[in-house]
């Protein structure tokens, strides 16, 4: 009996230790601000070169994980400029969860890969709910981060690959099965294409990247993509968990292709296909993406800047496969202290200095005309 008790208590202790280790691990992982807490300018230099007010207080946001790297960097830089006066937190839980937390009043702003929906889903109209949360004032969608979608592939000896939306749609829905398919060969007359089967990797979790990629395929693919754009993948292939899983799978599997955020493709040294939207092949760069964004039409009224992206018939040198992440904010009605920090932070975020840093992180900067609109909207927040 005593032996048994001794042993069992040891097991329990160890297991408890295991649980503790897991807890502390997750705790480390989920604190977005721990890395940003250090460094920066001396406190007291409140009015600085960038013309920031640097109010003190706390601001919290939640939502899209697509912009997580960008906004975390921005928070760190803002804190450095302001000497850590304000505490800004961003929790990348996903667009849907972020919007929900926003209209339930749990966070001060949301990050989302799509603008607030104005039609009812499940009896919930996101825009109306958000208006309610802002005490009757409309919520605005402010485009802040442009995340290009890369079509990354892993084929030996294929340095340059040109694809168009129609071919991509056919690869992704399983119509084109091998790399040396005539449709691919026609776009790449000089390339040596293998006869191997194409392995498509897709995001097994629901994601804004999937939604925006399928939007692009649907509207630019000449009818090759039949399904409605959705967060859950409806094409063919093998599902992997999150962007990291898809990137890892593509990097380790020969003759594979996937759609993925630019930053992940860059970090994993994956080759990226060039897009031919009718005016010749276009490489994925900050400028080519900004060019495509500048063709977008502003759908929102007043200072709401929700965009209608143009996916097909884009001008020469534009790369239209992209997703825009909006910061969703109250035009009015947030607590005054939070409003002050929010305005100040977004002023910094939309500044040329800040946007200039985005390409290094795998995002494209806002085109200048849209940038000035965003700046005007930020200034109009009350």
């Amino acid at each position: 009996m005593t032996m048994n008790r001794l042993v069992s208590s040891r097991v329990t202790q160890l297991a408890a230790l295991a649980a503790l280790a897991t807890l502390s691990l997750t705790a480390c992982g989920s604190d977005p601000n721990s890395a940003n807490a250090s460094g920066g300018a001396e406190p007291g230099s409140s009015a600085n070169a960038s013309g920031l007010g640097c109010p003190a207080g706390k601001l919290s946001g939640e939502g899209s994980s697509a912009q997580a790297n960008a906004i975390n960097e921005m928070i760190a830089d803002y804190n450095a400029e302001c000497g850590d006066k304000a505490t800004i937190e961003y929790n990348p839980t996903g667009s849907g969860a972020g919007i929900k937390s926003f209209y339930n009043g749990l966070v001060d702003f949301a990050g989302s890969d799509s603008a607030l929906k104005t039609q009812a889903v499940d009896g919930v109209v996101e825009a109306d709910k958000a208006k309610e949360r802002c005490q009757g004032n409309p919520a605005w969608n402010l485009p802040m981060v442009v995340g290009p979608v890369a079509f990354a592939y892993n084929v030996d000896g294929l340095d340059k690959l040109v694809l168009n939306a129609e071919t991509l749609a056919q690869i992704f829905n399983g119509t084109i099965k091998t790399w040396n398919d005539p449709k691919i060969a026609k776009l790449n007359p000089d390339a040596k294409l293998p006869s191997a089967n194409i392995t498509v990797f897709f995001r097994s979790d629901e994601s804004g990247t999937t939604e925006n990629t399928t939007k692009f395929l649907k509207s630019a693919g000449n009818g090759a993509w039949k399904d409605e754009p959705a967060k859950a993948w409806t094409g063919t292939g093998e599902g992997k968990n999150k962007s990291s899983g898809v990137a890892e799978a593509t990097a380790s599997t020969k003759n594979s292709i996937t759609y993925i955020e630019w930053s992940y493709a860059k970090d994993n040294n994956l080759s990226m296909a060039q897009l031919d939207s009718g005016n010749g092949p276009v490489e994925l760069t900050g400028e080519s993406v900004a060019k495509a964004v500048s063709e977008a039409k502003v759908k929102g009224t007043d200072n709401d800047l929700s965009l209608e992206l143009k996916y097909s018939d884009t001008q020469k040198g534009a790369y239209p496969a992209l997703l825009v992440t909006y910061e969703i904010v109250c035009s009015k009605g947030l607590a005054p202290e939070s409003t002050a920090i929010l305005k100040d932070f977004l002023t910094y975020f939309s500044s040329t200095d800040a946007q200039k840093k985005l390409p290094d992180l795998g995002y494209a900067p806002l085109p200048s005309d849209l940038q000035s609109k965003v700046q005007a909207s930020v200034a109009a927040i009350q």
Partner: protein, 374 residues
Amino acid sequence: MTDTDATEKVQQEHTAADDPSLSPVVDHTEAHLHSPVPTVLHHEHHEPAPAPTPARPAERAPRGVKLAKISRTGDRVFRSLATTSGLAIVLLVLFVGFFLLALALPSLRADQDNFLTSRTWTVAGNELRFGIAGLFWTTVLSSILAMAMAVPVALGVALCLTQYLHKRVSGPVSFVVDLLAAVPSIIFGLWGLTVLGPFLAPAAAWLISTIGWIPLFSKSVDPKGSVFVASVVLAIMILPIVIAISRDVFTQTPRDHIEAALALGATRWEVIRTAVLPHGRSGVVSASMLGLGRALGETIAVMIILTTPPQGAPFTPSIFAGGETFASKIANNAAEFDSPSKTGAYIAAGLVLFVVTFAVNAIARIVAERGAKS
């Protein structure tokens, strides 16, 4: 989460094993008969005494000696505390069941497909079509496969620790085994994805080429993210639980039985076969079932390893195919629960997992009980 769950289960099992009235897992009565333990006798003397009666001759004190007053306050306080804890855990489980049912029902009503037999999962639009057949298959297949791999090894380790190794060696080895339980499941998952998957790929290819005509081993697309790899990782994860409990059960084999067997000329293997294994059978069964329960609910490791087949892919029973388990599906999509009907669909899947785990534990109880009686 799963780590703490497992801890609780192990803990429960141990407390149960200590108390003969709670658990039939270990044959205590037999043990008591064969080993004269004075504490137990003492204990039994205490039980029938209804109240302190001063008239009993045995308790009359000699002159000049003062007897301490027997206080029952501690008894009462502890009893009520223990009862409250017991009630609280029952209420908690009932509450979880009720919560799952309440959130799942609206979505289940709106489901256009048969919830139990459909393999589609379309929960985004206004029309819900979802079923758990695919999830159920992958969950049960991976868990049973994991158990089939883990239990024989665990039995060997437990027997080695209790019957063969010297105490000085078995102590540290037990410690190492327990340490395995301290590895977070995400580490197992990453290891499975980056190391074990590629390592097992040739073995999988060989199996496919030799016995691929059996549907269970038929060829699939991605050998690295298969149910097979996931269940090997699961097997490693449930090893410490099964080993720890089997070891405890085997150490309780009555000394007399072992000595009797030895006296009759039995070899070490015959001792194990005739005395140790029969004594520990029901304990090993419930240990395996606990491990199975853990494997059924494991989330992160499985989610990282398994490749997900696309919507509408034809069903394949192969262990070299990918898939999604209840837990991995829910965890994978938890970030995008943006409408109550979608959330409800996932919670309905969670409800099935709850029921399956409940059934597994119930079976474990029944088997253990039967083992104790025979």
